[in-house]
Symmetry: C3
Subunit: 141 residues, 3 copies
């Protein structure tokens, strides 16, 4: 399953202290009506919620990281789910000793400072739906 | 050593459960005849093989990670080696505790789910050859 | 705070063994007069200096990693500070056991081998200035 795109507008910006990282990025993507594209970011958070997908139980296990952390990498893509733009992002976070933690980015991750880049792709959007084999909301069309 | 490019087609897609992560991405790049560009991905694997380059011994030491892991980041570039497109990619993988592991992505890394973006660059491709100083297959022209 | 850009020239290249990772990338960005854009890289370093921002004390705490490490990810953006292009980059580094460390990339990180991609963005540059709330040099206009 492969689709072809051309680059549209590139958006660069910053979030504010206290913003919910995933919710705020999603809000921007919805406002700009971006249905395909890529998101990257760096910065720091005051606390984070990441999750790991248990491939046997087929469920996400969330973990709260209750400390200040650097956003060392954030890689996300944009597609549609239930008719609305959705960001699927994974994040790597560094603690004061430089130790890294990471996984699937969940709501509840609070921005300290964040600089992001959103690249809009022009072309037919992917749509998420339940994938029977993995139990995940993957691209079904 | 610096070359200039313009963006060509952007490819977005998913891999299937059981695919070899590096081999399948390489297959797509070869099919699309992409000789320069960038690859990113997120998702999860069933097991992984990563390696670390011993700078003194000048050899890669491979390590097998025999568990389910999130693909927290994958950064790769595309160039030519022995006349064929090759992907050089580094990967960060997260375990169920959110602990991260990573290094040079090797064949033998099995996809559970993977969403990728390949950006094709238009311009003169780099070609890999043995770099005497490092012992690595770097860009020699 | 959000600005819109179009993609300009893409630069792909490699650094030399012994280069200072951050200084050399910054030198290239200055030579090419890039005031907005993105930087990614992979490769390996002989030693690294990363830092963590203490959000309470509002100061960076640097940490020296005195060993060979893979560059597992490097995410950076380009803007202006005091009239000159500046790269803000975060890095993830992997040791011989595949364990990852990371944070804010500092000068003093010595390249073993490095392949980078710089994407120039065309549009109004962001300018860094002191942000009172965080104590960080964030984008103020």
């Amino acid at each position: 399953m492969l689709k072809e795109y051309e680059l549209g507008t590139i958006y660069k910006g910053k979030l504010e202290t206290g913003d919910d990282l995933l919710e705020k990025l999603t809000e921007i993507v919805k406002e700009k009506e971006i249905t395909a594209g890529k998101v990257i970011a760096l910065g720091a958070v005051k606390e984070a919620i990441i999750s790991f997908y248990d491939q046997d139980k087929q469920e996400y296990e969330a973990e709260k990281l209750d400390e200040s952390l650097e956003i060392v990498s954030l890689t996300g893509n944009i597609s549609l789910k239930d008719g609305a733009p959705i960001i699927h992002a994974h994040i790597a976070l560094g603690d004061e000793d430089g130790q890294l933690y990471g996984g699937h980015l969940e709501k509840g991750t609070t921005v300290f400072a964040c600089e992001f880049i959103i690249e809009e792709y022009e072309g037919e959007a992917f749509t998420r739906g339940l994938d029977q084999q993995t139990g995940l909301p993957l691209w079904v069309k």
